[in-house]
Structures are given as structure tokens and as C-alpha cells.
Assembly symmetry: C2
Homo-oligomer: 248 residues x 2
């Protein structure tokens, strides 16, 4: 009997060349497929929800795979985790109906981007935060964030090099800027029905440029209206970004 299984996966992106399988490089998809192939005795290919870049982390990545094998679904995490190494871990495996697909069946995703806003940063954060040394004006960032929420053509927040998409219209459900660690940390939490290539990192970079006063507070609105990448801000680095959750 062919089974269809949905996994929830957590990984530290530091040691991976991103999600997507690439010959000769250690990737999250590659390590996962190798682990699943070993425990099932079959050649497994997984479909992941989000093709995270090198250095980007995941707490709630999802992937589906199909096969006809003996291992009970609830034993898959412990068996695979045992052989995959410590920086990637399956946190849940469930049976899903035929045709359910980690990416195509998803209704949206939530990301978190963590900024460390201080001239001093603990060494332990170097792979897990984006350090912005000068003080950010979170009030300006929050005002600009309001212009991003909703349904817009977001081609201004899209990097070259991604998979071509039919449309660059997306809906951002929510975008919050949270002050944490006595104001030294600012976390951006963003959810939407879909994200273009590097979209969260470009939104973050634009909000940082606005928060530093390098760009006017309506820069995000202007960039969206003009549909022009050059009017948006810089691309924030990968290590501050976490894929938190996929909605079905």
C-alpha cells in the first residue's frame, strides 16, 4: 500500500547549503532523504514546503513523501533522527490522504526574523541573529509595516534568481515587530499566503533602513506602488531568519 506521510522538520541552517538537494553539498533535503531512504530501504524523495537558503533556520519546515514500507509512521522521527546528525530533526510524522502535498496544499506560512540591535552582541548569536549596531526606531518600522500588510503586488520585494511565478501578488496576513530582551532584540513575525524569493529578508532590510532613518517611513509603500526592487531596502542576511510554521 502506498503511503503519503507529512513531516515536520526542525534544522539549524548554519551547517547546510540550504534546503534544496544539490550534488556534493550537504543540504537539509539531502540529509533528510538519505536518512529516510536508509530507514525505509527505499529511494525516498521528499517535497518540502519552503526552499530555505543557506544559513536560514527552520522550526516548522514541512515535507511530504510517498512509499510502500513497513516502519510505523510514529516511529519515523526517532529512527531517522538517530542517523541524521544533531542539526536536523524530524519533530512529527503523520499519515495524510493521497494527493496531499507539503507545498501545494499549504495555505500559508509564518516566518520570524531576529535582529540584535546593539553594538555588542554575544558570540553565541553570530549564526542566529542579524546584528544592527545603530539604534532602530521601532515606531517608524511599525508604521511602515502597516503598509505591507494586505494583498499587494510584491515584486519590489523579490530577488532575482528564484523560481518564476505566475503572479507576484501575495497576501500578508500579519506583520508584527516585537521588542524583546529589554529592547536589544527586535523580532519581525510575518505570516502570509506565500512569499517570493528572499521576500522576508528584503522586507526586513527595508524596515531596518527605515528604522535607521536611511529611508523615509513611506519607502515600503512607495516601493510596492512602483513595483521597483531598487526602491526597497537591502536584503537582510540569512542567519536571522526562521521558518516557523506552515498553514494547511
Amino acid at each position: 500500500m502506498n503511503r503519503n506521510i507529512l513531516l515536520t522538520i526542525e534544522y539549524d541552517g548554519t551547517g547546510f547549503h540550504g534546503w534544496q538537494r544539490q550534488p556534493g553539498l550537504r543540504t537539509a533535503q539531502g540529509v533528510l532523504e538519505e536518512g529516510l531512504s536508509r530507514i525505509t530501504g527505499q529511494q525516498i524523495q521528499v517535497d518540502g514546503t519552503s526552499r530555505t537558503d543557506a544559513g536560514v533556520h527552520a522550526l516548522g519546515q514541512r515535507a511530504t513523501f510517498q512509499g510502500d514500507f513497513g516502519i510505523p509512521t510514529d516511529r519515523i522521527p526517532i529512527a531517522a533522527n538517530h542517523i541524521m546528525g544533531g542539526d536536523i530533526r524530524i519533530t512529527e510524522a503523520v499519515d495524510v490522504p493521497d494527493g496531499f502535498h507539503a507545498r501545494f496544499s499549504s495555505r500559508g506560512k509564518k516566518y520570524r526574523y531576529v535582529i540584535w540591535n546593539s553594538s555588542e552582541m554575544p558570540v553565541f548569536y553570530r549564526n542566529y541573529r542579524y546584528q544592527v549596531e545603530k539604534p532602530l526606531d521601532i515606531g517608524r518600522m511599525r508604521r511602515a509595516a502597516e503598509d505591507i500588510v494586505g494583498t499587494h503586488d510584491f515584486q519590489c520585494f523579490q530577488a532575482a534568481g528564484g523560481t518564476p511565478r505566475e503572479t507576484t501578488v501575495r497576501t500578508i496576513y500579519d506583520l508584527q515587530l516585537l521588542e524583546e530582551v529589554q529592547g536589544r532584540q527586535i523580532a519581525l513575525e510575518i505570516s502570509g499566503d506565500g512569499f517570493l524569493y528572499n521576500m522576508v529578508r528584503i522586507i526586513t532590510g527595508t524596515l531596518v533602513d527605515i528604522g535607521l532613518g536611511k529611508m523615509p517611513v513611506d519607502a515600503a509603500a512607495n516601493a510596492i506602488q512602483a513595483g521597483d526592487r531598487r526602491l526597497a531596502g537591502h536584503t537582510a542576511p540569512p542567519q536571522g531568519l526562521y521558518l516557523m510554521e506552515v498553514y494547511y
Copy 2:
């Protein structure tokens, strides 16, 4: 004029073969000496307070070094941090009187050991916590900790292979067991006038064995009284250990 400078140093132990300089291996002392030699134009050797093992972290390591060079003391951190790489950082540099020595002048140290007590551990903690899957009885651990505080001959908590010492009598000023992260994390905070080789890790391992019920609650007291390493518990792994502070 010969200057004597005291540094405070923070490092992530994951990428180092411990503190102590070793030919051909990346160590914290080695990287620090190379950085200081480059910024001063002299061959610098530092004396560190604690020779932390591979994988052990430091938030408050201290080291002294001497030389006759031009760079102002308060510029040393920024200049050296710029070239040492992201996993080690000088957080402070101050001038100290002739004869002041990071190790010999110290009156004691404080360490923190972090245990993650759950069958599930985020991948991000693999190099920064000791995972103990079965539930620990913190009440038993706290009762045993009371037997460790004070002045005792601690040869039972000493691993072979350290520097020979004149005496194995030490004074533990304080030993607290803190419940954190809704009880999923237990942190041991210990301060004393000095610590034998692997002493904090063996004390932690003994308290874990007591907390799991593998050893009786008076096991630590018995081991101290007998002066016998075989009566103490296992050596907890390095990655949970942090050198927090040195007292002068």
C-alpha cells in the same frame, strides 16, 4: 613602558580545541595571541585564568598579557575582535598594576552548567546544553548539593590528566540548582575559590545520577568522605559548561 593588561573574553567553545595553545590546533588562547600579536606588532603571550576543555564556553574568561606597544587599552577589544573571527570576542580590556596575574591573582570563579531535561531538545541546543531525557528529581539534587558546599578535600571530583596540584582541598562558596524554561531546563550555578580538573562536570554528573535515582542522595557526601573518584558519578559532557566570572 611595559604595560600589564587584563582582558575579559567571551567564546563559543564549539569551534575550539579548548583554551590552551596547541600546535596546529585552533584554540582560544592561540587565536587570541595571534590577534593581539597582529594589533600590537609584538609576539604576545597571554596567561588565562581557566584552561577550559574543548567544547566548554566562556562568558567571562580572563587573561593578562604584557608588552610595550602604542595601541590605547580601550581600543584593544575593537581592534582584536575585528580580526579574530566571530566565535571569540574581547569584551573588556583594562590596565592593571605590575605583577597582577589573571590566574594567580584570582580569588575564585563562577561556572554555570546547563541541563536540558526533556526527551525532546531543539537542534539549536546541541552544542550548548546537556540533554538528560529522563525526569530529574531536583529536590534530591538540591539536598545532595548541600553536602558539596563548603571546604572539603574534593579529590573524588577530580579527573586524571590535569595539572598536579599541591592540595585537593577547595572551598565551594555556593551551589544553586535553578529551574528554568518551565522546568525543562536545570542550571547548576557554582562558585568557589578554585576547581580541580573536570570538577564541575563530575559534580554535575554526580547530581544528575542522584536526580535520576541511579545513586543515593548521600552519594556526593560519601564520595567526598572516601576521597574516591569511583564513588562519584559520571562526567557530564563539555558543551553544557560556561565559565561565567572570575573573582579578584
